[in-house]
Every structure is written in structure tokens, then in C-alpha cells.
Symmetry: C2
Subunit: 100 residues, 2 copies
DNA sequence: CATTCATATGAACGTTGGTTTATGTTGTCT
DNA sequence: AGACAACATAAACCAACGTTCATATGAATG
């Protein structure tokens, strides 16, 4: 019931990542765009469940989609992908880097 | 009910931060150790509720406590505090930086 | 030692959120 | 057009989580 006019708080974006499946999706997409079927195989998640989580990522603006025939290709949103070198994602409010 | 022998997953640590109150506590503690009473005033959170959230942060190992008379002082755990300059926290599995 | 201050704990409640099952939609191929 | 493949959506269920209220603990002070 979040008002679409008010900007998403940092907490809400963290909530999106605070799920095993969604975090795995994001980390997997850091390697490049991927089709849903590939994500299913790599993450061992049921189709419907994965689709639900992808919807959350979409609505949070963390990922974008593109059709490729029957398949749908998911990729990290442009603003999310940060510096070329690091394994990091940009949430706008904060940055997450996975390189210790 | 997490088995204490197995290491905490990155997701679990993110879950801890994915709450408005707890994130506010951590951000507030980045400025230095603080007593519970001070956190109550600054964050406008009821005593009991704050205490519950502090417990979650404690059990996650993100904060440490120290007695100061009747009061209890909370501070970020040593490994959490990262580089001197940046407003960043280290979760072990990943780093969160709040400087765009 | 009784009281008060500062914080923690326990239980009960309501809501959110992840999972499952079933069905719908969109595209492709023959 | 029919059939299949790839993915999305809807509804229902259950568990986890945040919140509240009541009570307990521990330290200090008279």
C-alpha cells in the first residue's frame, strides 16, 4: 500500500534483497543478463516461485526485462550496476559490495 | 532456531538490517556508542520495542553492549566498523556503504 | 532494604511475506 | 488453428516477524 509518489525508502530496498532467492538472482545477474529458465536451473527454484520473486525485483526497479522469443531475459537495472571492477550493486540509497 | 555451529548466511545478516528501526539504530551508532535512552529519544521508538530490536542486533553479532551505571551502552561490533573515512558497515559477507 | 531508574524478557496478537497449487497469457512451430 | 513451450498471475495456506502490554531483572540511591 506504498504511495507511489513517495520515494522508496532504503529499508524497502534492503527488504527486497533480504531473501535468499532474490539475493541469489541478483548475484547471478551480476554475471550478465539471463533467461528465467537458466535462473531456474542455476538456483534450483520452482518456476512459479521464481516468477514471484522476479516480480518483486521488477517492482522494486532492481531488474529490467526483455523478450527473446518465448523466453524472457532478465538483467540488472542500469543504475544498479556500479563500478566496472567490483562485485557491487547500487541501491541508490546505499551500495552493496561483495568483495571483502 | 539457527544452528549456532553453521555460519550465518549473508541473507540472514541483511534481514537484520532490513527493518526501519534496526537500520536507524545502526546508522545512529555509526556516530559512536550510545545509551538505550538516547536511542529511544533520537529514534522515537518505545522502550520495549527498541529493546526487542536491540536483541536481534545483539544476537546477530552486529552490536556489543557495556554497562554504564544503570544504563547500557550499545556500540557497533568491532568487525562491523570499517574504513575510517566512509559511512560504511561490514557484515562480513558484504559491505554496506551509505556514501553515493 | 525498599524504591526508583534503566533496560530486558515473555506472551499474545495481527500482519506481512514466502510457498504451493492451479490457471492464465504470450510466443512459436507445424 | 491447434499444440506446446516459457513465463506470469491468482488464491489459499502457513510460518515468521513486528508490535503491544505486562512483568521481570539489575544497578543505584535514600
Amino acid at each position: 500500500m506504498a504511495n507511489s509518489t513517495e520515494p522508496t525508502a532504503c529499508v524497502d530496498r534492503l527488504k527486497v534483497l533480504a531473501d535468499a532467492t532474490r539475493l541469489a538472482v541478483v548475484e547471478s545477474l551480476m554475471a550478465g543478463p539471463q533467461r528465467v529458465g537458466v535462473l531456474m536451473d542455476r538456483l534450483h527454484v520452482e518456476q512459479s516461485l521464481l516468477s514471484h520473486h522476479l516480480k518483486v525485483l521488477r517492482e522494486a526497479g532492481l531488474v529490467d526485462t526483455e523478450r527473446d522469443g518465448k523466453a524472457v531475459v532478465y538483467r540488472l537495472a542500469d543504475y544498479v550496476k556500479t563500478d566496472s571492477a567490483g562485485q557491487a550493486i547500487n541501491l541508490g540509497c546505499c551500495r552493496l559490495s561483495f568483495t571483502p
